[in-house]
Symmetry: C2
Subunit: 327 residues, 2 copies
Amino acid sequence: MSLRIVQFGLGPIGQACARLALDHGHQLVGALDLDPERVGKDVGEILGRDAVGAEVRDDPAALGEWAPDVVLHTTLSFLDRIEGQLMACIDAGAHVVSSSEELFWPFDRDPAFSERIDRAATEAGVVVVGTGVNPGFVMDLLPVVLSGVVARVDRVDVSRSVDAGRRRGPLQKKVGAGLTEAAFREREAAGGFGHIGMVESAKALAAGLGWDTAEVSETFGPHLADADYRTEHATVAAGDVAGIHQTATVTVDGETRATLTLTMAVGARDEDRVEIAGDPPLTVVVEGGTFGDTATVAAVVNTARRVAGARPGLRTMLEIPAAATNR
Amino acid sequence: MSLRIVQFGLGPIGQACARLALDHGHQLVGALDLDPERVGKDVGEILGRDAVGAEVRDDPAALGEWAPDVVLHTTLSFLDRIEGQLMACIDAGAHVVSSSEELFWPFDRDPAFSERIDRAATEAGVVVVGTGVNPGFVMDLLPVVLSGVVARVDRVDVSRSVDAGRRRGPLQKKVGAGLTEAAFREREAAGGFGHIGMVESAKALAAGLGWDTAEVSETFGPHLADADYRTEHATVAAGDVAGIHQTATVTVDGETRATLTLTMAVGARDEDRVEIAGDPPLTVVVEGGTFGDTATVAAVVNTARRVAGARPGLRTMLEIPAAATNR
């Protein structure tokens, strides 16, 4: 199945999505980006590939002309920044698969936004969905899928541990590797620090498990180094900050029913783990973890084939079929 | 969400499904079974529970009167034995969730059956789907879901290993524990021996991965004991048969792209394992395995809530939403 694809946003993730879409045999019919250095060029040139005969433009009005089946949307994390972009895609009659973390579960954060997008998408007969690895897979979709073979779910504990030392330099900076604890707290107080999407995962997990009265709380803090570490990008002294430690806790009627724990730190073990207490209990380990950079791109591009099988509207990954089967 | 449920088949799995449906807050409005000892009694009595005010009958015509939302169908494994049963459910306007192994992926085994059921279900606006653990989860749905975060799938290897010594006596008998190899081969030649559904899993996996030209081959043989074992139900001497070893291999254009391996034997390790070679590679282990007896029942009952979110017709678990979310 070859789809007409538009890439909305040509940052690193967007470029990787566009390349993978080509590798999957899709047709890249256009791309949107605001960078004047990119606008007017062939998309292939931006990707370091052969020309694909499709142009980068900065005006979403081009979507009507391109008539894509699916837009891969990889611009910004926050709902209040992307509504116009999503509406332009919907107006062009295109499905939207987005890496926006907040779009993975927008219903509680902004009910009015969600209703507007849902109504527009339903009327246009298209699906709008947010996806990724975290949120989008490890802490939400995967445990919900696993719960499908559990008769009674008492409690779910998910942990994702990422060795930031083996990841890109920007990620090590992003998690504060090498800071003193005081500098970390200063940066935290300034805001905009930490991984986005823990609450979204927790809300989706609770909804997927049918916990209608669930409440979610979160914590954020430094993960301190237990030894000295030196990577290509950061030097961390024992006792200083190796990275971040974030949790989201789901309580139902005052009882803790789920915990999500994210550690992204230099020297941390690479592993994802889902433990479902119940009948039968289920312990599932992703050995070596789910490599976020590639997997996020894969999630976006793989979802593009599957959206047509879902009901139009603002959907979640819990409602998108696992596969588009040609049978 | 409380559904009106009919239990079709009151064998051990059917009874467990009916009990779990009650535990999940559904309404049991009737049950079908051919055993004259059960017919005419209250379903609750058969389940060892309080009366539920619903009767066991032997004539599927009762479905029209009961008007269930969903029928839990747990009678027989084979397509040619269940078509009339499924049609009776469809005619009553009920979704069907079945534990029939062959129904998990019936399209290749019996295309004409599949077309008839699909047409009838589509016209009636209901979903018919087969589910379970194996087939239905470990070797098909789970690897397909995991592939959702893999950009390039080179190869998939799934193994399920079950310690038959820790399972029900009938299962130990079913896998031939304690037989000599000669007796095992004799029983094999007589037919009707071995786990059903490996080919169905392999076909579903291939379809879910978009391998349109996939071919599937299978092997079956004894798993020989490496030591003496004695369980409550069987005595196995070293060198005799501890259980079964089955494989299904998926080749695409002559190249092996997936292997499914099932070992059910006394003394075997309890573990499920999915290894996806590709980018990123993914290794997922269900530590201690997925406990088949309970998980199969869970799969059937949990799927009942989710069918209404899928397109009407003969569907597969790859197309059923992961959750029915009330948002």
